[in-house]
Symmetry: C2
Subunit: 206 residues, 2 copies
């Protein structure tokens, strides 16, 4: 269960406060807080509600040391008390279709919905399906970084790693796609202030 | 500028309250609120800070009617006061590299960083680059739905539309990738409660 909402920052403050943080204090990361953050992330939406995101949370120091070696020895992997490996597995998504259809639907509508999701996924090549599933999983990355920030944890989302080495080390399926390694803990530096394109470059109103 | 944070729900409540909403009241959507939501979204992180998300906000009723025709006449396109077209354009990302490098870096480091981002992007085929850029833009989708919910607006993110027809109608580049059409406004229905896989299926701790 998700605990009380009073402890959670507003979306605005969570977005403002979030920085990419590479240095962390030695404070351990309570498992309860990790679970609470991931419970929030599990509420993220996805096309057809497929929920393709999976999280392998590396807390064990010796495993984390080996993970760092597969991530070009980025210091935040060692410094943070936990690293969340966010990945997706298109085969598992295919296997889970019946479980993600909303139980509020009538039985025949459930079956029909499951069939159309499968038809959508199976119309793609293996590579296309993996791309699509992996892109959906990035919706959860936005949620994850905001949820951590809301509970006053700092993060660093890393794209620099050897995917094959990480999958082998952690026993993930060979065809899994890893979206990011996310170091998480109590930050021990301020980080760079946001540098963003002005809204005028991003948004047009018609 | 982003207004006061007191008006913004906590991340937890925003995630809990968010539903896919297809019916909307007739209330107009103030431009200021749209801008405030998109300002929050602009704080989303991306690999190399490329910020590939672009937003074309359709408010004009007659344009929205034509957009609905390109989105299989989904009723929420007509019912919502605004529809945000979230898209990315890999060519624009390539052109923007110098602008996204952090100004806090020393000049020679800025140039080196821009070069390595370009080298990363140019090592990909056109299709691979578009896929990668589009997947990054989904991070902003998570932010967008949470930011709207935090300001007590409801949304419906739609994947069902004819991309070529939408791009032609709105004058988007032919090679742009559209992540989603997001209907936004004041909801006029409760929506379905969340149906999610249990955390045990999503997360493993090691």
């Amino acid at each position: 269960m998700i605990a009380s909402s009073e402890l959670s920052l507003s979306v605005l403050d969570a977005a403002r406060n979030r920085r990419s943080i590479r240095r962390y204090t030695n404070d351990p990361m309570p498992r309860e807080d990790l679970r609470e953050i991931l419970e929030v992330v599990s509420l993220a939406p996805s096309a057809f509600n497929v929920q393709p995101w999976r999280f392998l949370v590396v807390e064990d120091p010796s495993l984390k040391t080996r993970l760092a070696a597969a991530a070009f020895n980025q210091p935040q992997v060692l410094a943070a008390p936990a690293v969340i490996v966010l990945y997706s597995d298109a085969d598992e998504v295919l296997r889970s279709v019946a479980d993600v259809v909303h139980p509020g639907l009538a039985p025949e509508q459930r079956a029909k919905t499951a069939q159309s999701i499968l038809a959508f996924l199976n119309a793609k090549s293996t590579a296309e399906r993996e791309e699509w599933v992996a892109a959906q999983a990035n919706i959860a990355l936005g949620y994850l970084l905001l949820a951590a920030s809301a509970l006053d944890y700092q993060t660093s989302a890393m794209g620099g790693f050897d995917p094959a080495a990480v999958k082998k080390l952690l026993g993930l399926p060979a065809r899994a796609r890893i979206n990011a390694l996310v170091a998480i803990g109590k930050g021990d530096e301020e980080g760079f202030p946001h540098h963003r394109l002005p809204l005028e470059r991003l948004a047009t109103f018609r």
